[in-house]
Amino acid sequence: MGAVGGVVVGAMGLAAESPYVFSLPSTLPLLRYAIRLDPLSAFFVLVISLVGVAVSVFALGYVREFYGRHSIGALGALYNAFLLSMTLVVLADDGFFFLVVWEIMSLVSYFLVVTEHEKAEVRYAGFFYLIMTHVGTAFVIVAYLVFYQQAGSFSFEAFRNPSEPLPQGLRSVVFVASLIGFGTKAGIVPLHVWLPYAHPAAPSHVSALMSGVMIKTAIYGMVRVYFDFLGGEFPWWWGFVILTVGAVSALLGVMYALMEHDLKSLLAYHSVENIGIILMGIGAGMIFQSYGLTQLAALGLLAGLYHTINHAMFKGLLFLGAGSLLYATHTRNMEEYGGLIRKMPWTAFFFLVGAVSIAALPPSNGFVSEWLTFQSLFLSFQIPDLLVKMMLPIGAAMLALTGVLALACFAKAFGISFLAMPRSAHARNAREVPPAMRVGMAGLAIICVLLGVAPMVVVPAIDRVTAPLIGVSIADKVLAEGGLALMPMGVGSASISTSVLGILLTLLVPVAWLMAVVIGGKLRKRFYRTWGCGITLKPRMEYTATGFAQPIKQVFSTIYRPTVKLETDLLEESRYFAKRMHFETHIEPVFQKYLYDPVVRSLNAVADRLRVVQTGSLQLYLSYIFVTLLILLLWVR
């Protein structure tokens, strides 16, 4: 529960003028255990800790799921180690130390993922995750090596102002390396493949941390490298690449999410989507930065960071909700839920809050950050370069599509899981979860709402983070109408005030009710079965998640490449009545099939080829030595 302390530290750091620094030397060369708390780290510490607190509370109840089957002690220890390592990652002030804690973070999370390693798919997920993240780390190492080469030391201070500035080529190497390195952790398309396996495999409270927070450390890494180390001077294509990657990740993430019926993998895919949105904000910021439009740059970055904290909150909340469902029904398959809103009203309500937030519906927090992203994309018309100018609105269109698909997806998730009739015995026997878990969810839900309706508090806080990176503070400009409204570009430009919208909405609901009463008099209700064309409705007749997503799959079939298999065996008597029908449909995992499998296959092929090296023949072995000897001798001579 050290997370509580983290909250304090984070808040302190945001409030502080100058960064706190302290460092204790290690006994290994080049390695310094250095800690530095500047606004950026503080912001992320805050994010981590807020989620950490809520999740820890939730975990108190949730781990009951594992009693007997797993050692709670180990689980708890790893869990706290995980929190600690994440905090250290964002606090580290030394490249080497960063790498160490970064790897430890991956390692601990790997252990957490494979908590239930009896299941083959969990093992696969964990292994896949470990490999991917390790490869990512290799790229991060490359990026840092470049810095080290210039700076002659691993300390971030030296990275910031190296002895001689990096040549453009190397800067681009750093850019690409860290994009791949951190992108693997963040789960950008096409490096996201591990994410939908690993996040669901972990215990739900851990998934909440991984999906809500861990992937944010990657965002931290990118911001740190691009804006801090590289001093925020980039060619325009960097920002453009980031933006494109973000847009693609967002769109594909939500599209694959729509096809998922395992609630947790669905949420995992949404993490891909939201990372994409965050990157769109940051990318836009970078583009503006490279054209010297610092205020807009600050705006884009602000949007990105705002969405970062928002996503941390509502994704954490949603994963906790999924955890509660799992806890209550012991299944992750949405098709087996249904009608749970009556069984577990609290969970349902919190989940709804999360759903509204992630679907970016006003006045939720998701709406604010997505709106800011929209604005920063819209304001691209100030960019001199025509091509870029024309591209950014397309990004906006993709963002819009993403948003509404997310809406559809969570309409599905919530509707199928909580509404209508129970679809299985699991759902019928579900019970509301213990208070500890509810409290955890409630905490996050409240934070979500606050982040939504009180941007006037959040924006200045984040501005403290962006100002040192970009060099301009825009809080006072963005906040208009006495802080009620957000107004990116000063008077006359667009602005929103979620608080006012919230007030209006909450006012108008009773108004509508009053009106109804005034016109229609007292409400008289009659309860009756749903009309089912005369026959009584069974759960089997309900619309399934698959059915719900069917039209979308149809429309975007070029992307999904669905394969449908329908086998029917008919009655002997008549060809018109089927005895039983078996229908199954799959969507093709494009990236795995065309990107990853070939690599693995070729590796195996090479290994098979090389077996002949080690045939077991002694004479052959001797001849290896002989030949090597002769070659070397001749080389020396």
């Binding site: 993709m398 109804a516 619309y543």
Partner: protein, 316 residues
Amino acid sequence: MIESALIILSQAVAALLVSPFIVGLIRKVKARLQCRRGAGVLQPYYDLLKLFRKDVVVSTNTSWIFTATPYILFASTLTASLLVPIFLSKVPINFAGDVIAVVYLLALGTFFLILAGLDAGSAFGGMGSSREAIVASLTEPAMILSIFAVGLTAGSTNLSTIVHKTALLQDIVTDPPPHLMAFVALFIVTLAETGRVPVDNPATHLELTMIHEAMVLEYSGRYLALVEWASALKLLLFLTLLSNIFAPWGIATEAEPSWMALGVLVWLAKVSGLAVVIGVIESMFAKLRLFRVTDLLGVAFILSLLAVVFFYILRV
């Protein structure tokens, strides 16, 4: 302060009052084109009244979502309509939300409507919900882009700013082509969003062809009234957007009572005109198959995209 409050109130009232009339008008036009006398244009008002008086039947499967949705839907739509300049170019609370906010407010309503559709547990509701979802997701990008295209001229997505500047033709940069394309795009979007032919047929009674109607199939009494009213309001809202963004002339640019009165009249004329057009279209075209709708909306998307591109091309 009082004044702005009054304006807000009057705007809300006006919108609420006019919306059923538009629906009635469209029905009338269609009837006439089908050589029927048709019900009077005031028929929707009677319907609403009647529905409010009737008592409601609620399915035993449903939860509070089902009962809450009508109110939320109504509230969100009304909120949206408060952000749109109707007869006064500068809405007092324009700072509260721009056009994107309007879109998302409507989306909020849609979201709950979809949930409500699923809530009853009948197959029709689910079908309607899923179709609504796909239609909405296809319209959204086109909508945002066309709005961008227009917003670019005024350099802002704040509706009041757009309308005001366009009305006064001051410090805006505009050319006919992008505007025209954006207009067509937004018009198609309107048809799709408000569930008109050729995307959806509000008059159908064959469940399998329904989209919007299927979703609200379980509603009755005042709930149905609220939902119907909300959708009428939504329709009006879009027509207002169309008319006031692209042809804001005649709208009151100052909060002078006389100007505002004129503004109201002009606005009525404009939206009625659009309503007639819609009526005509509805009787000219047949409803498209669901999976053909994509083509139509694709056209809308391309148009709006072209609008943006053209805007820049013509600038350089």
